[in-house]
Amino acid sequence: MSAEKTGRAYVEEARQELTHYAQGLLHENEKLRAAVATLESDNRRLESELTETHGVRQQKETLRRRQDVLEHETAEAMREAGMARHERDQAVAELTLLRARLEEIEQENDRHLQEYQQVEQQTANLSNLYVASYQLHSSVDRDVVLKTIEEIVINLIGSEEMAIFEADERGRFRVAASVGIDASRFGPFRLGEGPIGRRLAAGEVFVNESPAESHDGLTACVPLKIGESTIGALAVFRLLAHKPALERLDRELFELLAVHASTALHCATLHARALLEGVPQ
């Protein structure tokens, strides 16, 4: 009996232990199932997150590539900007050089223009002297010579007030021709007499630098000389209104007249005398 009891108790104990074990297993199984469910849920979530992460990675990759492109483009743009700055600096330097060169050329051009104008002016001055000389010797007619002297004074010097004097055999100067003045106010005079005679006595061309201040209004007095002998005189009074003063060319014309007008006038006078005396031509 006791053995039977013992057996039964052992079985009962084993059964209870098995039951307890089975319950534990069931409980554990439940826990595992819950864990599996949780894991599955986590797995799904992770898969979802993984999918999202993959999308993000793709976006990130796209963005990274885009960033690479942009960085490349930026680098390229900066390189181009650097080149452009360099080109701009070169262009600015070249422009500065060109401006300096242009200024030099303009200055050179101005200098050439001035030289050209000076040459033109000198040519004109020489032309004036040549024309005056040519015209004075173009005729032996006394009236023509006197007219030519007047024309030279009017047209080349610029005065319409003048008197041409000639010395007679006794050395007295008389008016031979005049323009724009009252010739009667000039009576015969000798060298050293009166305002004109005094100027003639010096034997050189007299030029009044301030004719307006002179009481006789004489602007210039030109002795007409053959060698050392003064055979006549040219007195120039007021200049034309638009001619403020005598210039260097005018003085040269006076010097020319002093020699060539006297020669021409002397020849014309001799010619006229020869005609009167019936000398064969």
Partner: protein, 130 residues
Amino acid sequence: MTRKRILLVDDSNTILMMEKFILSNGPWDLITASDGEEAVCKASTEHPDLILLDVIMPKMGGFEACRVIRTRASTNAIPIIMVTTRGEAANVEAGWANGCTDYVTKPINSVELLAKVRSVLDSVPVEVAQ
């Protein structure tokens, strides 16, 4: 193309010679007349492209010649530069009133004359030879 022609009018040989000297190096042919009547005649027959006209001349003065040239259909378009010793306003006004294009004063300044001649002729079309 024919060369442009300039009629120089002055009773003074000195001035005519002077003007020839100044203008002879230019690309122009020069014609001369010694008084206003001859100037009017040559303006009609020679058809110059420009006339340099003295004011005080025998037979017909410069102002009258200018007026006659302006009244004729064949010559009224010819530019005329008056050449005068009188630069006063009244004389200049008289020149404008008689139809002159411009004026220069004597003594002639070559640079001024050349500039005015070039200025006037540059605005005149050149005749084309037929």
